[in-house]
C-alpha cells in the first residue's frame, strides 16, 4: 500500500520567497547602474563633443538658412560687421565658415553665437560697454565660439545627453525620439561648457592683442555685469555665461594691459541710445 499524507507539509518560507534585504538589493542595483550609466554617459558625451565638428559647416548653414532677424539700424549693423570681420581676420578661420552679425533690439545686455555662424548682440549690451575695445572683447568671444565649432558641439552633446536620459527612463521608441529632437534646442540660447567659454575667452584676448596691440578695456563688460544693479538682467546673463569672476582673473592675467581705448563706432553708439 502506497503511503498518503494525512496533513499538508509545512515548508521553510525562504525557499520560494528568498530573504535578503530588498533595501540592500535596491541600493546595490541603483548604485551599480547609476555608476555604469554615468560613466557611459560621460564617455558618450565626450565623444559627441569630439566628433560633432565633423558635421560640415555647410549643414549648419543649410539649417539656419531661413532664419530671419529684425535687422536694426543698417548703419549700426554695418559698423558691427566691420568690427567683427576685422577681428575675425586675425583668427585664420576656415574659409567655409561664414559669419553673420545681427543686432537685437533688446534691453537685456546679452550676446551669443549659434549655428550657422550667426552672432547676435543686444542693444542692452552696447549700452554697457564704454569703448570699442570692450565691445570687441564680447564680439571676439562669440567669433571664437564659431571658430571652435562650439554650437554644433553643444548640439551633439545635448542630443547624446537626451538620448542617454531617454534610454535610462525607458523611453526609446516614439517618445524617446521626440525627447531627443525636442530638447536639442537648436536655435536660440545654447549654454556652452566652462571649457568652451574659457577657450573662447583666450582666443578673444588673442584677437584683441592682434588687432589693437593691447587688451585694455577687455574687462569692461564683465565689470559692468558685476556691478549691474538690475538683478533680472544679471540672472539672465549668468544663466548662459558662467562665472564672471574667473573670467576677470583670466583677463587680468593676460599680457599687455595698457593702451589707448578706441571709442565706440558712432553709428552703434547712436543706435544704442535711441529709444
Amino acid at each position: 500500500m502506497t503511503q498518503w499524507p494525512d496533513q499538508n507539509p509545512q515548508f521553510d518560507d525562504r525557499i520560494n520567497n528568498p530573504p535578503g534585504s530588498a533595501l540592500g538589493e535596491f541600493t546595490r542595483l541603483l548604485l551599480g547602474l547609476g555608476l555604469v550609466t554615468t560613466v557611459a554617459a560621460l564617455l558618450l558625451i565626450a565623444a559627441a563633443g569630439r566628433l560633432s565638428p565633423l558635421i560640415p559647416f555647410a549643414w549648419e548653414a543649410q539649417i539656419t538658412r531661413n532664419l530671419s532677424f529684425n535687422e536694426a539700424d543698417p548703419e549700426a549693423l554695418a559698423a558691427l560687421e566691420t568690427l567683427g570681420r576685422n577681428l575675425a581676420a586675425h583668427a585664420a578661420m576656415d574659409e567655409v565658415i561664414e559669419l553673420h552679425f545681427h543686432l537685437l533690439d533688446s534691453n537685456t545686455p546679452n550676446a551669443f553665437a549659434t549655428l550657422g555662424g550667426h552672432v547676435m548682440v543686444t542693444r542692452g549690451l552696447i549700452r554697457e560697454v564704454e569703448s570699442e575695445n570692450g565691445l570687441a572683447m564680447v564680439v571676439g568671444h562669440e567669433i571664437a565660439h564659431i571658430h571652435h565649432r562650439d554650437p554644433i558641439r553643444q548640439l551633439g552633446r545635448g542630443a547624446v545627453l537626451s538620448l542617454v536620459w531617454a534610454l535610462v527612463t525607458g523611453g526609446t521608441g516614439q517618445t524617446g525620439l521626440e525627447q531627443v529632437l525636442g530638447t536639442g534646442g537648436m536655435l536660440g540660447m545654447l549654454r556652452y561648457s566652462r571649457e568652451m567659454e574659457r577657450e573662447a575667452d583666450a582666443l578673444a584676448l588673442d584677437l584683441l592683442q592682434a588687432h589693437y596691440g593691447h587688451t585694455n578695456g577687455a574687462d569692461e563688460f564683465f565689470l559692468a555685469m558685476q556691478n549691474q544693479l538690475d538683478r533680472e538682467a544679471r540672472v539672465e546673463f549668468l544663466q548662459t555665461h558662467p562665472l564672471t569672476e574667473d573670467r576677470l582673473t583670466t583677463i587680468g592675467a593676460y599680457g599687455e594691459q595698457a593702451g589707448e581705448l578706441q571709442p565706440l563706432p558712432e553709428a552703434l553708439a547712436r543706435w544704442a541710445e535711441k529709444d
Binding site: 500500500m1 498518503w4 499524507p5 494525512d6 496533513q7 499538508n8 509545512q10 518560507d13 520560494n16 520567497n17 528568498p18 535578503g20 530588498a22 533595501l23 538589493e25 535596491f26 542595483l29 541603483l30 551599480g32 547602474l33 536620459w165 525607458g170
Partner: protein, 152 residues
C-alpha cells in the same frame, strides 16, 4: 531633465511604498501561516488518483481567488532588475503570497462544505495592469480543485 521637485516626490512615493509595502507583506504572511496551520489537516493535492479512503466521497468543485497589488518600491526595484537581468525577487514574494492566499480561500470553501481533502488542484494566474506602460499593476491568482466530501 527631471526637476528637483519631481525627484523629491518620486523619492517620497518610494519611501512610502517601501514602508507600507513591507508592513503589509509581513502582516499578510503572518495571516497566511496562521491559516495554513488551521487548514493543515485539509489535504490539498494536485493529482487525480485518489487514495482508497476517499474513493466513496462526494465531489464538488471549489475555488479561491485573490488580487494583490504591487507597491511602488517593488515596481522600481523590478524596473532596475529589468536592466540587469536575474531573479526579480520583489515580484516573487507577490506571487507566493497570492498563491498561498488563494489556496487558503479554496480550503475555506471546502471546509464549509465539510470536505476532507481537495484534489486535482490547478492554478490560474493573470496580471491586471494598473498602467499599460508600467506592466504589472496587480496579480490575480485563482486556485481551484475538487473537494471530497465524506458520504453522509
Amino acid at each position: 531633465m527631471v526637476m528637483p521637485i519631481e525627484l523629491f516626490f518620486l523619492l517620497g512615493l518610494l519611501v512610502l511604498g517601501y514602508v507600507a509595502g513591507r508592513f503589509n507583506e509581513k502582516r499578510h504572511y503572518r495571516s497566511i501561516r496562521e491559516g495554513e496551520s488551521r487548514f493543515r489537516d485539509l489535504l490539498v493535492m494536485n493529482g487525480r488518483r485518489l487514495p482508497p479512503h476517499l474513493l466513496k466521497h462526494q465531489a464538488r468543485m471549489v475555488s479561491g481567488n485573490v488580487v494583490i497589488s504591487v507597491d511602488y518600491f517593488k515596481v522600481i526595484l523590478a524596473a532596475l532588475r529589468n536592466l540587469v537581468g536575474g531573479r526579480v525577487t520583489s515580484y516573487e514574494s507577490l506571487i507566493d503570497r497570492a498563491r498561498r492566499e488563494a489556496v487558503l480561500r479554496m480550503q475555506a470553501e471546502a471546509r464549509e462544505l465539510g470536505a476532507e481533502a481537495v484534489f486535482n488542484l490547478r492554478y490560474e494566474t493573470s496580471r491586471i495592469s494598473g498602467d499599460a506602460t508600467r506592466g504589472v499593476g496587480s496579480m490575480e491568482v485563482l486556485a481551484y480543485g475538487t473537494a471530497l466530501i465524506p458520504p453522509q
